[in-house]
């Protein structure tokens, strides 16, 4: 067999193996180059795989040559390909940005560790997107989670430690819930392969165990993706983590968890949804819709109340995740497409705003609202990128954020769900309200008199920031890569399994 055929396992094995090498390399500068090279290779692999998938359809790889359902299967469809490309691309951008920022925020003796953990985290995330085995998924989930806890704890100040601890406890509870649920499903079916599991669940005659198992799985994953009201860990973790980590987590971590939820909900559980006897008006998608929309509105209000911008954006992430879940819960091709395209665009725009805040933290020493007076004039390029991301977050037409909101609105109106449409609009307006506070302070309030002149952030940070910033505009007009992929992915997700 050629190397090309072994790309699926290579995708996550590469960063997994490359991570510990950083510990041997020692010098931070070497580690940075090594990590960037690995992430670049991952991106190349992801894009190659995506091309293969779009060409020939689903790729199924049997690890060690064992046939599924006995062996572990790596199963790649358009959605996995999309996620792999997204995660690796964001990793490349973040790693380009990282060296200068990490030098500033993390002590020299721990910088090598940072790159190790970053690569392990990347391996976990990529693994979650490749595997077709539900238990294998848990392992990758924990690889990424454990490395993320540690990454969060590298943040400045002692609060980072506490945030990491809170995240660890809740994350572990979530993962354990997932394992419990999976155990119950395994009890009914005797299989862990997702496709196999779906087929067996349809024929299973034990709806109560199925219901409980599915419940545990969904609740466990909801903690991981910070679905309201299980989002309590997220604001602390995003706020106190190093800037680079916040950016990477916000852009990819929760997104991959959402991918897993969608994958399990649509591929594994959806075919047997009819067997779930819920009391009449209650439906699974109805609950998801309500939780998603409530989360969107309430987290947006919380975001408005924050004075720490990282925390504000963290709540904003909770809100946007709510929107994506609500979109997927409408269960139409348009709505799932909308959710997925918003997932991509939101990753881009959140990377932009968090990376911009990293620059602000570096130069102004704080990301609290009151310390940002005049920041727009003091750091024009950094804050300009922030503004681009913020406008995209609001969903101004011509920016990436608009595409997802448009598609979701369209999906809501196609089904005459006026309430949903109005709430999506209201969510955008709340976003505008909390984002615009920043604009007013940064551009309209004069800088304090004793403020020293500060230089712009170094070029090595500015360039990746500019790339994601401009991507907001590009993906707002040129949507073939985002919307086109999202459409293919939603077809893959809903294919044959429309409940």
């Amino acid at each position: 067999m050629t190397l090309l055929a072994h790309l699926p396992p290579l995708q996550m094995v590469l960063p997994l193996m490359a991570g510990p090498v950083c510990l041997l390399l020692g010098r931070p500068r070497l580690c940075a180059v090594w990590a960037l090279a690995v992430a670049g290779a991952c991106l190349a692999i992801a894009l190659t795989l995506l091309g293969q998938i779009l060409d020939t359809g689903v790729i199924s790889y049997h690890v060690g040559g064992w046939e599924p359902p006995w062996g572990i299967e790596l199963r790649l469809d358009a959605l996995s390909g999309l996620m792999l490309s997204l995660v690796s691309a964001i990793a490349v951008v973040v790693l380009l940005y990282a060296p200068a920022s990490v030098r500033h925020e993390i002590p020299a003796d721990r910088q090598g560790l940072f790159y190790t953990l970053f690569l392990l985290n990347l391996a976990g995330l990529l693994g979650m997107c490749t595997t077709g085995d539900a238990f294998n998924l848990f392992v990758f989930l924990e690889i990424s989670s454990l490395s993320t806890y540690t990454l969060v704890s590298l943040g400045r100040g002692r609060s980072a430690l506490r945030a990491a601890y809170v995240y660890l406890v809740l994350g572990t509870v979530g993962a354990t819930f997932y394992v419990i649920g999976l155990g119950l499903l395994y009890m009914i079916t005797g299989t862990l392969n997702m496709v196999d599991l779906a087929q067996h669940l349809v024929n299973a005659d034990n709806p109560r165990t199925l219901l409980v198992g599915a419940g545990f799985v969904v609740v466990g994953l909801s903690i991981k993706l910070a679905l309201f009201p299980l989002h309590k860990w997220l604001p602390g973790a995003y706020t106190h983590a190093p800037s680079v980590v916040s950016a990477f987590m916000a852009a990819t971590g929760t997104k991959v968890a959402l991918y897993v939820l969608l994958r399990l909900a649509f591929t594994v559980l959806a075919p047997s949804f009819s067997a779930l006897h819920l009391p009449h008006p209650v439906t699974v998608e109805g609950m998801a819709l309500i939780l998603g929309l409530t989360g969107m509105i309430s987290a947006s209000v919380s975001a408005f109340l924050q004075t720490d911008l990282k925390r504000m954006l963290a709540y904003s992430s909770v809100a946007q995740i709510g929107l994506m879940v609500a979109g997927a819960a409408l269960l139409t091709p348009t709505s799932v497409t909308g959710s997925l395209v918003h997932l991509i665009n939101h990753a881009v725009l959140k990377a932009t705003v968090f990376l911009a805040l990293g620059g602000v933290l570096m130069r102004l020493g704080s990301v609290r609202l009151e310390d940002l007076a005049g920041a727009g004039r003091r750091l024009p390029l950094t804050m300009g990128a922030f503004l681009l991301g913020a406008l995209s977050l609001v969903g101004i037409p011509g920016t990436a954020g608009f595409i997802g909101k448009w598609t979701l609105l369209l999906a809501a109106l196609e089904q005459d769900r006026w309430g949903v449409a109005v709430l999506i609009g209201a969510g955008s307006l709340l976003t505008l309200a909390y984002v615009w506070r920043v604009v007013e302070v940064a551009w309209l309030r004069p800088a304090p008199a004793q403020a020293a002149r500060v230089p712009e952030i170094p070029l090595s940070m500015l360039v990746p920031l500019g790339v994601v910033g401009v991507a907001n505009l590009v993906f707002g007009v040129y949507t073939a890569p985002t919307l086109g992929l999202a459409r293919a992915a939603s077809t893959a997700l809903l294919g044959g399994a429309t409940p």
């Binding site: 969903g395 598609t407 369209l410 109106l413 196609e414 609009g425 505008l432 007013e440 949507t479």
Partner: protein, 496 residues
């Protein structure tokens, strides 16, 4: 790139050039040249459009069925002409004003001004609702720095109201309306005769119409008019831009465009449920006039007058007959020239004397004869007295109202003419026939304060020459439109 794309791109390019300019003189010259260049590109479009050509260019396809496309049709050309002609005049004024008042950050000011004009031209040339919405929102965002240019706390508050109302209506209602149209028809382009003909009817149509009319907050139809008086803290050239050239005109233009091309006048005329618009517009005309009457701050009075005059245009459109639509389109032009003159004059008065209130203007005609002469002519146009442009458009509107047998509209037009006279004539009378009052001008307005602080202006003479020149040109337009109304009328009549 096609001519149409260049028309939109020229001001954007101009903004960059202005930002790069090093010396004030180069900056001002660039501004003027760019304005003239834009106009020079719009003018040649007249004859092909009158001949029935509809050139178009697609710049990008955002989503299937959703393009960024520019095209030109009679209504859009009317708006593009108004915007590009008045931009030249407004640039002259802005240059003079910025210099006379030593406005801070002039480069940002002129650059944002140019961006706003570019966005307004984009609205004018938009070939579909998506493109229109794109430029509509761009216009909101590019005018925000102008509204808050002073940076004072009240400017920030005004900016908040401005942005809050315009974006919440556009995202909350306008966008919803657009998505609704798209979900019904799968397209968004402007179709002669109406895209929605035969797709939607009855109360749903009335609701959709409401989403558009109130969603287009820039049209300032009551009750979404609050942003307009709030935004008057902005420097005078901005007020002129907001009220006469770009923003409000973009609003009513969008309303007209939606009624003509998305709904189709025939569909609306045959739907009794949609006739509420006439009453809302009529109410807006009268109520805004009454409020204007009570205002002492000159700019506030002019702002409410704008709300009332915009409602004329919506009223004309809401009659759903061709004659009234023609009247509405011509009124868009007539009001633009007259109102820009009035705001220019208000700015000139403040620049020259520091006055901001109507009650201070006794005998002002003797101190500022030219300014007040231009002001008076424009005020007569607002009332609709010949020989001014206002007479022509009001005549056409009345004709349309008779045509539609809409006696309510006829009544509203007559009553509001009386009200217009009631709030404009006292100013004219006081300025020319009352002796100057003794009490000194107050300094409560930000602008007056700025003028004082910099002491750049003498308090006795006329306004600076550039301001007078700009006012003279726009007043000339007011008169010219009475004598030669053929072009706008011909364009408006060629609407489907």
């Amino acid at each position: 790139m096609s001519v149409l794309a260049w028309i939109v791109a020229t001001p954007l390019l101009g903004a960059v050039l202005i930002a790069l300019a090093r010396r004030p003189f180069t900056r001002d010259l660039t501004l003027l040249l760019i304005a003239l260049a834009t106009l020079a590109q719009v003018l040649p479009l007249i004859s092909p459009v009158l001949a029935g050509e509809r050139p178009a260019v697609t710049l990008a396809t955002v989503m299937p069925g959703i393009d960024i496309t520019l095209s030109v049709e009679p209504l859009g050309l009317i708006f593009a002409l108004v915007a590009s002609i008045l931009w030249v005049v407004a640039s002259l004024y802005a240059i003079g004003y910025v210099r006379a008042n030593a406005l801070p950050a002039p480069k940002r000011f002129h650059a944002c001004f140019a961006l706003a004009i570019g966005a307004a031209l984009g609205v004018a040339l938009a070939d579909n609702l998506f493109t229109l919405f794109l430029f509509y929102e761009t216009l909101t965002l590019t005018t925000y720095p102008l509204v808050t240019h002073g940076g004072s706390p009240e400017a920030v508050r005004a900016g908040r109201v401005y942005l809050g109302i315009l974006l919440s209506t556009s995202i909350g209602l306008f966008l919803l309306g657009i998505v609704w149209v798209f979900s019904l028809t799968g397209r968004l382009d402007f179709v002669p005769g109406g895209l929605l003909n035969g797709v939607i009817e009855g109360p749903a149509l009335a609701v959709l119409l409401g989403l558009f009319v109130f969603g287009i907050g820039k049209a300032a139809l009551m009750p979404v008019h609050r942003w307009l008086p709030a935004a008057m803290v902005a420097p005078a050239p901005v007020s002129a831009l907001l009220h006469a050239v770009a923003v409000v005109k973009a609003g009513v233009f969008t309303v007209l465009k939606v009624i003509v091309y998305t709904f189709g006048p025939d569909l609306l005329a045959n739907t009794p449920a949609a006739h509420w618009l006439m009453y809302v517009a009529g109410f807006s005309v009268i109520a805004a006039s009454l409020i204007a009457w009570r205002q002492d701050n000159l700019k506030a009075r002019l702002a409410y007058s704008t709300i009332s005059q915009l409602a004329y245009i919506v009223l004309g459109a809401s009659l759903f007959v061709p004659a009234a639509l023609t009247g509405a389109a011509v009124h868009l032009v007539a009001h633009a020239f007259a109102k820009i003159t009035l705001f220019f004059a208000a700015g000139a008065i403040t620049t020259a004397t520091g006055m901001t209130r109507v009650s201070q203007m006794n005998g002002l005609g003797r101190r500022l004869p030219w300014t007040m002469a231009f002001f008076s002519i424009a005020a007569l146009s607002m009332i609709g007295v010949p020989p001014t442009a206002g007479f022509v458009s009001k005549w056409l509107l009345l004709g349309g109202a008779f045509d539609a047998q809409a006696w309510v509209a006829v009544g509203v037009l007559i009553l509001s003419t009386v009200l217009n006279a009631a709030y404009f004539l006292p100013i004219v009378h006081a300025a020319w026939f009352r002796p100057p009052s003794a009490d000194p001008p107050d300094d409560d307005s930000h602008e007056a304060h700025g003028a004082h602080a910099h002491g750049a202006v003498s308090r006795t003479g006329e306004a600076p020459f550039l301001l007078l020149l700009a006012m003279g040109l726009s007043t000339l337009g007011v008169g010219a439109l009475f004598v030669w109304p053929d072009l706008p009328v011909a364009l408006a009549r060629s609407l489907p």
